[in-house]
Amino acid sequence: MNRAFFAALESIYPPQRLLTRDVELLPYESDALTAFSAKPGAVVLPVNEAEIVDTVRLCHDHAVPFVARGSGTSLSGGSLPIPEGLTIGLNRLNRIKKLDPQQRIAVVEPGVINLSISEAAQPYGLYYAPDPSSQSICTIGGNIAFNSGGAHCLKYGMTSNHVLGMKVVLADGTVTKFGSESVEGVGIGPDLIGLFVGSEGLFGIALEITVRLMPQPEVYRTVLAAYDDLGRAGDAVSMVVASGLLPGAMEIMDRLAIEAAEASVKAGYPDAEALLIVELEGESIQVNTEFERLQGIIQQSGAFELRVAESEAERTRIWKGRKGAFSAVGRLSPDYIVQDGVVPRSRLGEALLAINALKVKYGLEVANVFHAGDGNLHPLILYDGRAVGALEKAEALAGEILALCINLGGSITGEHGVGMEKRDYLPAMFSEEEIDIMQALRRSIDPREIANRGKMFPGGEAPALKLQGLHPLEKAGVISRE
């Protein structure tokens, strides 16, 4: 950052919103991928759209790289600072500008917390569907950048499927709008929303977002099934799918994850090798009939125990163990890496066996939590960062799991994004030509490659690996990971 750039920043921001001292920058050095850290050149805290646009234009003019940051909950290092670059903190743009229950839409600023939208919509019987486990703290801007998912993606999709309109500033300072208040979104012409959402901050910053809201289901029916074999839980998922039911969520946890959750939130889970949670939702008459069928299937699937949530409190407790599983695993081990690979659902069993073999090969523990409905695995690789070479070993194991997912016909990431963490694995999934085309696309939008430089694409300078435990907010129990 040169002096002219800095002077220009000072003309936009008062000193309390332009952070440069080490002690002020410290909280911004990492996101939820805590193995990485980097010191930004400065952090700015805009309070309105104009300040964001001015800042991006300034960065473009001076070729200073920037990263937009919401609450810093990215699990792929997506909001990790660029060394000596600018971090643009968006939390202060947190207004819900419009909520129209009749048309089921909300217009929000990028710093609005995911859960706040559902809270605002709740009095009207509506909610915002994407529910990453960090939803009580993560922001919509970050959800947009990484196309965040959650436990309920199979039926209603990820963030991209819930955005109808956007106003964005591209990395070169151009401001543009696309989409509408129609559920069709863009409707006519290429779906620019689909392109922008999930671009990991490489195209620019979302300034204003129109999201669609959904009616709250009349009832939820949630069942917890315990198995003495992980494979059998996987088979149960296939049976549910084959039956023609379309559950809102299907989640599996293995023994280690169950034990961790039990020790941490005391969900009252049975002692089992695997737990399957299936949740149906919808009109009561329909769901009650579906639920009878579901219980029949689960009984046939060899579950040794079946628990039906009889009240909202019991449902919450079942989910609490699942949603808190990641931070719970943090109690078992000083450090861990979360993976996010996807495999075709029918190959889940194969993937789990292979992960077990890798555990033995590397001598590391792996806890498994996954969105079984869409084949999205979240293996948590446990290691002790204080031991020499432990992180490298854990990363090597993580790399083998990603290769496994690709070999089985899946993806290296279902919902966390490539970010910093998996950028070296992008070539395993896409050809050189495909990556060249994506790079060309990026440069056509951001000729100076300043927006979130160093993420998604392989190569570039990696910030120093740092060994530390949970995110401070996770330690405090404020957030949890999906």
Binding site: D100, Q102, Q103, R104, Y124, G125, F146, N147, K155, Y156, M158, S160, N161, T176, F178, S180, E181, S182, V183, E184, G187, I188, G189, P190, D191, L192, I193, L195, V197, S199, F203, P215, E218, V241, A242, G244, E283, Q286, T289, V342, P344, R345, S346, S411, T413, E415, G417, V418, L426, M429, F430, S431, E433, E434, I437, M438, A440, L441, S444, M456
Partner: protein
């Protein structure tokens, strides 16, 4: 204009490389898109058909872009599944044309549109490069999602040769109702009531009649629960929205084809929000029309497309002409966007696809 019917991706790449202008055609069912392309070599994908991979247990299907939508629907239906964006079943419409034009039928109401169910694609771009975008599994966040960008792209950026979709189990049974209201405002109030209720309709359309406006509502589910659900829905609607009449109709495919009564004239799709309907109605001057997807898509048949164009411009809405002799398929508010132009520079820098 030279006509080419490639049988393979390699042949298609050669056509793109060897010609200055290329105009892609599926089966040509959307006639308005094929006017005014003199001088361009046409690439007809009707020979590139067939389902490549369909795994009902994965909820995914991969097929060649020239496959008729009807064939896909038939294959899915054999396994009790469907493509929830409900591609419109024109006599010969292809899946590639459906994506390029972003066309979804009334059942799009329940789970979403084309953009919500496309997972990935193989394409040939304006430089003749063949490559893959997106993925083949139901969830994937790696790389830029150019597959969604193709939805609505009108063949101007890249030619799709293969497409992968997410599919869902279909319901075994359906029941349909017509609810009659007086003025438009009353029918819209009923739509708003449904929007904030927990009733899960399979489809909801809004149609003008001689004496007022009607809602067409469809419920999907099991035989044994549908009567009770229909009863519950009807009584709630009677209580909360005061319809003049509620009548159960014989459920059928043609009842839920929004284009069934719109034969003749220029056929136009308009994406709008329910609250824009009154102003749109005032500007329409009596063209035949039906509002689909809970009032979020207007289908209009008119002989006076210039008047419609002017009305759309006034309201800052865009229309896509599917049928009729028009100079440009896109009418009303232009769709040019700087972000789309940037993509164009990369995928089709020499404007082969115009």
């Amino acid at each position: 204009m030279s006509v080419n019917a490639p049988r393979s991706v390699t042949e298609l790449q050669a056509i793109v490389r060897d010609n200055e202008r290329v105009h892609v055609v599926g089966n040509g069912s959307k006639t308005a898109l094929h006017n005014a392309h003199d001088g361009a070599a046409s690439a007809e994908l009707s020979g590139m058909t067939g389902i490549i991979e369909y795994q009902p247990s994965e909820y995914t299907v991969t097929l060649r872009a020239g496959t008729p939508v009807r064939d896909l629907a038939a294959a899915l239906s054999q396994q009790g599944q469907y493509l929830p964006c409900d591609p419109l079943m024109g006599a010969s419409a292809t899946i590639g044309g459906t994506v390029a034009c972003n066309l979804a039928g009334s059942r799009r109401y329940r789970y979403g549109g084309v953009r919500d169910f496309i997972l990935g694609a193989e394409v040939v771009d304006g430089l003749g490069r063949a490559f893959r975008v997106g993925g083949k599994v139901v969830k994937n966040a790696a790389g830029f999602d150019l597959s969604k960008f193709l939805v609505g792209s009108l063949g101007r950026y890249a030619i799709m040769t293969e497409l992968t979709f997410k599919v869902f189990p279909d319901a075994p049974s359906f029941r349909s109702l017509r609810l009659d209201y007086g003025p438009l405002e009353e029918a819209l109030r009923a739509v708003y009531f449904i929007n904030q209720s927990a009733f899960e309709l399979d489809a909801l359309d809004l149609i003008p009649g001689a004496r007022g406006w009607s809602l067409l509502a469809r419920l999907a589910g099991y035989d044994e629960t549908l009567p009770q659900r229909v009863e519950r829905f009807s009584s709630a609607m009677a209580r909360e929205t005061a319809p003049l009449d509620i009548e159960e109709l014989a459920d059928s495919g043609s009842l839920w084809n929004p284009l069934a009564d719109l034969a003749g004239g220029c056929l136009v799709k308009v994406a709008l929000s329910p609250k824009q309907i009154p102003a749109f109605e005032a500007a329409l001057a009596g063209a035949r029309r039906r509002y689909s997807v809970g009032g979020n898509v207007a289908w209009v048949a008119t002989d006076e497309v210039d008047a419609l164009d002017a009305a759309l411009q006034k309201l800052a809405l865009t229309g896509l002409c599917l049928r009729g002799a028009v100079k440009s398929a896109v009418i009303g508010e232009p769709i040019d966007n700087v972000l789309a132009q940037r993509v164009k520079q990369v995928l089709d820098p020499y404007n082969k696809f115009m």
